[in-house]
């Protein structure tokens, strides 16, 4: 049966002149074969597939979601601004109705960049989805947004940025953190005290194949999305779950990726990781583009595809079924969790040690959130990195109650700046950013 065609925007920016370093997986060659395959299949000639040039994100766009130390100028290069700009362009095209959905096939990626950023981690300098999400909220007044991170690595950066935000649902499905970088993303990581259930993690065992991913999609992701009712769904579309990926251990295929995108029907997809540049990316990307555009992807197949060889074992199936049950049990009782976790406390503290593998930086962070029934809650962060930088940040949530606002403004005004290199004030509601 013919599917319903959709108008799909494609922001293709392979940055053929940029690499982290010569031999790094995040290098010039990464999207070369994807470009070849997309061109050879003639995808850009379809009347319902429209290609756009990426815009360039501004530092103000970055300051809406990050506390960059010392500032975004020092943390980014043109490549990062273009990659985030590409994601923003995708959002613009969708939200102005020019297209039905859009795919930002850009690099470098961003989903490991956290709220406070002292440098690059997991190949990411700034979180391009978060920059895009804050742009969407700021420009288009969209309130409820869901991010489904289908990269093989836990989307820890996006999770961190929205940990205390009840309006941004972050679902990450990834290879179990006990077996892969960044080693986080377990079922009980469920969001901050005012945003419980707005963070969902589905760790999957190594060698999970199409069947397992689609089971998690059908039994966790789609039901939770149904309940959350986001206005916009974003696929943080990593492609490193592929059976041929050199740095992960999963068994997902191009057909699986295409089907996942057809079922998930994201409004915007943004490329994240995926480093099997020759054997996976060309086919996965063609599959995703066709699926998003509502075109027939049934013939897309990797040359070495062998369903038998990559099929998951019954034991893996049982593990996944069990994990899915755990997530849904937690989800169903999310309303009662707050009392258990916060009790009578007015503030809740979280201490984090963060390692920036790409830049070799270690950071110690204390995050304090005000327990609040009226908004996501005022957040204060003290952070020290072994670069010698010590900072303090006050963050007001996107919908901020008067009390959290008053508290936050007072704290920022009274803080003794002499013990910090920088003190930051980020007001996501009024789009104000101050550094002193």
């Amino acid at each position: 049966m013919p599917k319903k065609e959709k108008k799909t925007g494609l922001i293709f920016f392979p940055a053929f002149d940029w690499a982290i370093s010569t031999n790094h997986p995040e290098r010039e060659e990464r999207l070369l074969y994807t470009q070849d395959q997309v061109f050879e299949e003639g995808l850009l000639d379809f009347p319902n597939i429209l290609e756009y040039k990426p815009g360039i994100a501004t530092y103000a766009d970055i300051n809406r979601c990050h506390i960059c130390v010392p500032n975004p100028q020092n943390l980014t290069t043109n490549s990062h601004l273009i990659s985030a700009g590409g994601a923003i362009t995708a959002a613009q095209k969708v939200l102005t109705g020019e297209v039905d959905n859009a795919f930002a096939l850009v690099r470098p990626p961003g989903h490991h960049s956290m709220l406070v950023a002292h440098g690059a981690r997991g190949f990411c300098n700034i979180n391009i989805e978060a920059v895009m999400i804050e742009y969407i909220r700021h420009q288009f007044g969209v309130k409820r947004i869901a991010v489904v991170d289908t990269d093989c690595h836990h989307g820890d950066g996006t999770q961190d940025i929205y940990w205390n935000d009840p309006d941004v649902l972050c679902i990450s499905m990834h290879q179990d953190g006990r077996t892969l970088y960044p080693g986080t993303g377990f079922v009980d990581d469920f969001g901050g005290p005012n945003a419980l259930g707005a963070t969902i993690n589905i760790p999957l065992p190594p060698r999970t194949s199409d069947e397992g991913f689609l089971f998690a999609l059908d039994h966790v992701i789609l039901p939770i999305l149904d309940e959350f009712k986001p206005e916009i769904i974003i696929n943080s579309a990593g492609q490193d779950n592929h059976y041929s990926d050199p740095i992960t251990n999963m068994s997902f295929s191009a057909q699986g990726y295409a089907l996942l995108n057809e079922k998930l029907a994201p409004d915007i997809a943004v490329l994240e990781g995926g480093y099997s540049i020759e054997k996976a990316l060309p086919y996965v990307n063609v599959g995703i583009i066709l699926a998003m555009a509502g075109l027939d992807y049934s013939q897309v197949q990797e040359p070495d595809y062998d369903a038998q060889r990559i099929r998951q074992s019954p034991e893996i199936t049982r593990l996944i079924e069990n994990e899915v049950k755990n997530v849904m049990t937690l989800w169903k009782k999310k309303k009662n969790l707050k009392k258990q976790i916060a009790g009578a406390a007015k503030y809740i503290r979280r201490e984090k040690n963060i390692y920036y593998d790409t830049d070799d930086i270690t950071e110690k962070q204390i995050e304090t959130v005000r327990v609040c029934d009226d908004c996501g809650g005022l957040v204060m962060i003290e952070s020290v990195a072994d670069t010698g930088k010590k900072i303090y940040a006050v963050i007001l949530p996107n919908t901020c109650c008067p009390e959290c606002r008053e508290n936050g403004e007072n704290i920022f005004n009274r803080i003794n700046g002499s013990q910090y290199n920088h003190v930051y004030f980020q007001d996501r509601q009024r789009d104000i950013f101050v550094a002193k």
Binding site: P14, A15, W18, E29, L43, S298, Q299, V300
Partner: protein, 553 residues
């Protein structure tokens, strides 16, 4: 001296050119059933016993190929496709004589599945039963490795058949377009060969033994004999002649826009530093997107004879044409009539123009003079808006490197060149666009003039893969081995040599071979954190332009 001839659908124009100066010109009606007669008629007006020995070459443009396609006067073609997995063939616009065969290569040109000779034998049998003589063979990624197309051709070869191979027609990637290009090449083979024979008879009849060239879609010339291998390159030879005509008559050196305003449509073309822009992937014809290198031109439905109407109190112009201007006894008011009333042009019956505009003026509650001015300005504004839109699209064309995104060339026109009957409207369009205009001389035969002085163009695509230790010339389909240390500079050098050879074969004189590297990319190939080789991609071209002076000698 050069004899330039533009065989159009209606007229055949001919010029004699020496040192870029027009010596003589002639215009005759084209007899579609007897092209040779039209060629002779035009030539006889120019050639005399005194000058015949000074003519050193003949260059032609023709609408024959284009018309054959538009009017469906084409051969039946059997298409044999080695498509492999990927995009479903149901999404492609394929004819009934399409045969899918086993075999495909991947994006690096590595064979994944081989051609099956028994299956090809069966296909061959069917093609014979259907008595199809033209065959097109196209493989996915055949520009990365042509071997399977060549193998298939060998299996299907037979003296009664003529085979077109996808990889020979373009080095670019795009399987659906390669199919369309190959199909068209086969489909117009017979009609084009007929034209070539007519031309050869004509040259023999006037008793000349000089090189004969034909204009390609990219505004470059090719000797008529080698053009028989790639008739499809001669489609859109007409619009290409128009653009080369502006180039020849206007001496463009800057960023510029050229308009060819006709009765029904206006063709817009763009020049960057005096070089006409090419279509990014290839030209489209009759709804088919191809890989044929062609000059960029966009046709919009506004012309001198467009119908002028009033709808909801607003002036509406075009896109239909219902006949000539009212001044020439046409049924409706047209922009041309408004220009007559305004006094910008004088021809036909000005009273009839006045009457037609008066009807419009009444509906607009305006004076006739005001209505005429409003129509002229609206026509100019519509054309100007389209020009702006086109420039916006061109300047926003996606690019794939940070360097190009931040520092890529932006086209900022400094001059508007206008040709065609209603060219007198130029000042109004120029005022709207905010840059000056120019109306080149001899615009009534500028196509033939452009044809006469166009240079030979060619392109070579080279792909080196030092991991495979192989280099492929995409269009030539030949492969040679390269050392591990092979570099981009080596590829450019080899590419230039190959391009030089190719251009000479196509008829270029050495002094007109001005080469330019249009693409040069080098990627380190890294597998398991070790460099295993380099992927080098180079394109070298001779860009469209005019021959160097003294070409007639």
């Amino acid at each position: 001296m050069i004899l330039g001839i533009d065989v159009g659908g209606t007229h055949t124009d001919a010029v004699l050119v020496q040192n870029f100066q027009l010596i003589k010109k002639a215009k005759v009606l084209t007899d579609q059933t007897n092209i040779m007669a039209s060629l002779l008629e035009a030539a006889e007006k120019l050639i005399s016993d005194e000058n015949i020995n000074d003519i050193k070459r003949i260059v032609l443009s023709t609408t024959i190929s284009t018309n054959a396609i538009v009017q469906n006067k084409t051969n039946r073609v059997a298409m044999v496709l080695l498509s492999g997995p990927g995009l479903s063939p149901t999404t492609l616009n394929l004819g009934k004589d399409t045969y899918f065969a086993r075999g495909y290569v991947n994006h690096r040109g590595i064979p994944v599945k081989n051609v099956n000779s028994r299956q090809i034998a069966d296909i061959s049998q069917e093609i014979s039963e259907n008595a199809i003589q033209q065959i097109g063979i196209v493989g996915k990624f055949s520009s990365r490795n042509p071997q399977q197309e060549l193998d298939t051709a060998e299996l299907l070869q037979d003296s009664s058949r003529n085979i077109s191979l996808g990889h020979t027609l373009s080095g670019q990637l795009n399987f659906p377009r390669r199919i369309a290009t190959t199909y068209l090449n086969a489909a117009i083979y017979d009609i084009y060969r007929g034209f070539v024979q007519d031309v050869q008879k004509f040259v023999a009849r006037i008793g000349l033994h000089i090189p004969v060239y034909i204009l390609k879609a990219d505004g470059g010339t090719i000797l008529i004999d080698p053009s028989l291998d790639c008739p499809v390159q001669t489609i859109h030879s007409g619009p290409a002649a128009g653009i080369m005509g502006v180039l020849a008559t206007a001496c463009i050196r800057e960023d510029a826009v050229a308009l060819d305003i006709g009765g029904t449509t206006t063709d817009i073309s763009v020049f960057a530093d005096g070089v006409p822009l090419l279509e990014p992937t290839g030209v489209s014809i009759s709804g088919r997107k191809t890989l044929i290198r062609g000059l960029y031109t966009k046709s919009i439905g506004v012309g001198g004879d467009s119908v002028v109407k009033v709808e909801k109190g607003d002036i509406v112009i075009g896109p239909q044409r219902e006949g000539p201007a009212a001044a020439l006894d046409g049924p409706f008011a047209t922009p041309t009539d408004a220009m007559i009333v305004e006094g910008i042009v004088t021809f036909g019956d000005s009273q009839k123009a006045q009457n037609a505009i008066a009807l419009i003026a009444k509906k607009l509650h305006m004076s006739v003079q005001d209505a005429a001015r409003a129509i002229v300005e609206k026509t100019a504004a519509m054309i100007a808006d389209n020009v702006r839109q086109i420039l916006l699209e061109i300047n926003n064309k996606p690019v794939y490197t940070i360097h190009e995104l931040l520092e890529g060339k932006i086209i900022r026109p400094r001059m508007l060149y206008v040709v065609g009957g209603p060219a007198a409207i130029a000042p109004f369009i120029a005022q709207n666009l905010g840059y000056p205009y120019s109306i080149p001389d001899h615009s009534e035969v500028s196509n033939a003039l452009g044809v006469a002085v166009a240079r030979t163009t060619a392109e070579v695509t080279i792909l080196a893969d030092t991991e495979k230790r192989e280099l492929i010339f995409s269009e030539e389909g030949c492969v040679q081995s390269v050392p591990r240390s092979f570099s981009t500079a080596d590829a450019i050098e080899i590419g230039k040599k190959a391009l030089h050879k190719k251009a000479v074969r196509m008829g270029a004189r050495p002094q007109d071979i001005i080469m330019e590297v249009t693409e040069s990319q080098e990627f380190n190939m890294i597998r398991d954190f070790c460099t295993t080789g380099k992927n080098i991609r180079v394109k070298v071209q001779i860009k469209p332009g005019l021959i160097s002076s003294g070409a007639e000698r």
